[in-house]
Amino acid sequence: MTVTEENTANTAAAGEAVVPAVSRGERFSSYDVEAFEVPGGREENWRFTPMKRLRGLHNGSAPATGEIKVDADAAPEVRIETVGRDDERLGAAGTPSDRVAAQAYSSFTSATLVTVPKETKASKPTVVRLSGPGEGETAYGHVQVRAEAFAEAAIVLDHVGSGTYADNVEFVIGDGAQLTVVSVHDWADDAVHVSEQHLRLGRDAKLKHIVVTLGGDLVRVSPTATFAGPGGDVDMLGLYFADAGQHQEHRLFVDHAGPNCKSNVLYKGALQGDGAHGVWIGDVLIRAAAEGTETFELNRNLVLTEGARADSVPNLEIETGEIAGAGHASATGRFDDEQLFYLQSRGIEEEQARRLVVRGFFHEILMKIDIPEVRERLEAAIEAELQAIGV
């Protein structure tokens, strides 16, 4: 067994040392919103979130006033359905673990179900576009992506538009299935989105779960991965780019409760402008029964300007020594003067040198997004972000 640990949150607003009061595995979960107390903002789970900007999603004062609009461009093999609350397939991937998720679960009226039938390989990526309810409106939603046994597909959930939105997104990955999902949060400036994403992997299933957060006033995405059988392998990748005033929070939890599963977490963020705030929490729990686990998690933040802030908190709890490997690393830094000097000393202008460095920073993740349309769009989005501040 190897356990590695690297410089945890250096420069730029290092998070205080965190000793979880209780194991992450003990966190309460329920489908019922009333089972949760209204959070005040001091709770471990909420301490980084600007509660006022949640617009009441957390305290019951935000009734639904609109709906999320769903458009799909699906592969011919993939089935898209709209189902009611009572559909018995819903809730299979996990239970809401905070009050906003439970509020969403208690409030949605219809859910979108995306099914990749068993032993089927989708011939092209399926894109589900979720448009916000509009400025000043609030909506709750629910999406479930089901990859049946030995299915293979790529699914893009593309979040755009305005408004306030909370949802649960489930990924139910059958035995031996292989799924790539990209959840893109390309909201308009006013949008608030709180999303709990439940990743449930069957025996020998493989899931690549990619979160991309670009837009929005406040975006908080909490992916939780669990394993229903041995041999599961989850890659959790994230890319975020926060501008002035944006709060982008990603809270991950990987729960290794059974043997011989793998998880690999890699999140990278760039932050620029006054009040840009990135939060990354990476909880990994290896329970006593999870022998043979292999896990690694890494978060890197690049603070491009003054006034931007990144918090990065990895937590690794290990209850058995019989694992293949576990490690975590986290670092937050500014532009590296040596890199810029090197590039400039070859005649490359400062502005272009900075762009090269930022592109290089994200390259590692972009290369893992094996859906060309999505990758190209993200490359363009990163260019646009850089242009915006003349980096």
Binding site: F341, Y342, Q344, R346, G360, F361
Partner: protein, 257 residues
């Protein structure tokens, strides 16, 4: 024919504890076609001289001038200096993750030449130069200097020299950390460039062994932040024999770390 004149150059390094003067009045003129070896003990300020000329942000020039054909390069940004025809082969080339060598080289060549090289010619040019330096083609797709061995990094510095075609090249301890074969390959690369281009070279080194491959026209001893003696090749032979001891004393020794 170009001239690089360093006149009474003083420079300090900025650290957390404050500013410390390293260069204490350097005077040197290098013309196209000349190779000047700058030799000195560790800590004498040789590398500071190269960084100060290139414009590293850590070093502050406190007085003096560096003129390239009469123009003061100290007024230029780092990239402007490179475009004006200066090149620094670094002792410790920097890793730039996620930026491929091919993208980097093309960006640099485009900047220095003022236009993007025609793709077809460019590919061949890079390939040829890489072959001369025994660099495997797979390096083109690797990130700049990332995970390269010391020798691989130095070869890539000389590759950049060949592609960017400067008027003046400063080679900062290019020989350090090279084994015998790598030293020969790198020296051959430098010699080929100087033979085919009208270039002035400042070869900064601690040891005399690279001078068996690259023959200097002038040898300068650098100690205590300035040039303390100048001569021809025979000066290098003398250093080979007796080392730097007498110069360290002469310099009044802030040197020698």
């Amino acid at each position: 024919m170009a001239t690089l004149e360093i006149k009474d150059l003083h420079a300090a390094v900025t650290t957390d504890e404050g500013s410390k003067e390293i260069l204490k009045g350097v005077d040197l003129t290098v013309r196209s076609g000349e190779i000047h070896a700058i030799m000195g003990p560790n800590g004498s300020g040789k590398s500071t001289l190269s960084y100060a000329i290139a414009g590293h942000p850590k070093y502050e020039v406190t007085s003096g001038e560096v003129l390239l054909d009469g123009e003061n390069v100290l007024d230029m940004s780092v990239d402007e200096r490179a475009r004006a025809g200066l090149f620094l082969a670094m002792q410790y080339p920097v890793e730039v993750p996620g930026v491929s060598m091919s993208n980097f080289l093309r960006s640099a060549a485009t900047s220095v030449r003022g236009e993007a090289p025609k793709l077809r010619h460019w590919v061949k040019e890079v390939k040829d130069e890489m072959a001369k330096l025994d660099i495997s083609s797979e390096f083109a797709e690797r990130s700049v200097n990332e995970g390269f061995s010391g020798g691989e990094k130095k070869r890539h510095e000389i590759l950049q020299l060949a592609l960017l075609r400067p008027k003046f090249a400063i080679l900062d301890e290019t020989d350090s950390g090279l084994d015998v074969d790598a030293l020969r390959v790198v020296s051959d690369g430098v010699n080929e460039y100087t033979a085919n281009n009208d270039v002035g070279v400042m070869l900064i080194t601690h040891y005399t062994r690279i001078l068996k491959h690259i023959h200097p026209d002038f040898v300068h001893v650098f100690a205590g932040g300035r040039i303390v003696e100048s001569g021809g090749k025979e000066l290098a032979d003398e250093l080979e024999e007796s080392g730097y001891v007498k110069y360290i004393e002469k310099a009044g020794t802030t040197a020698a770390v």
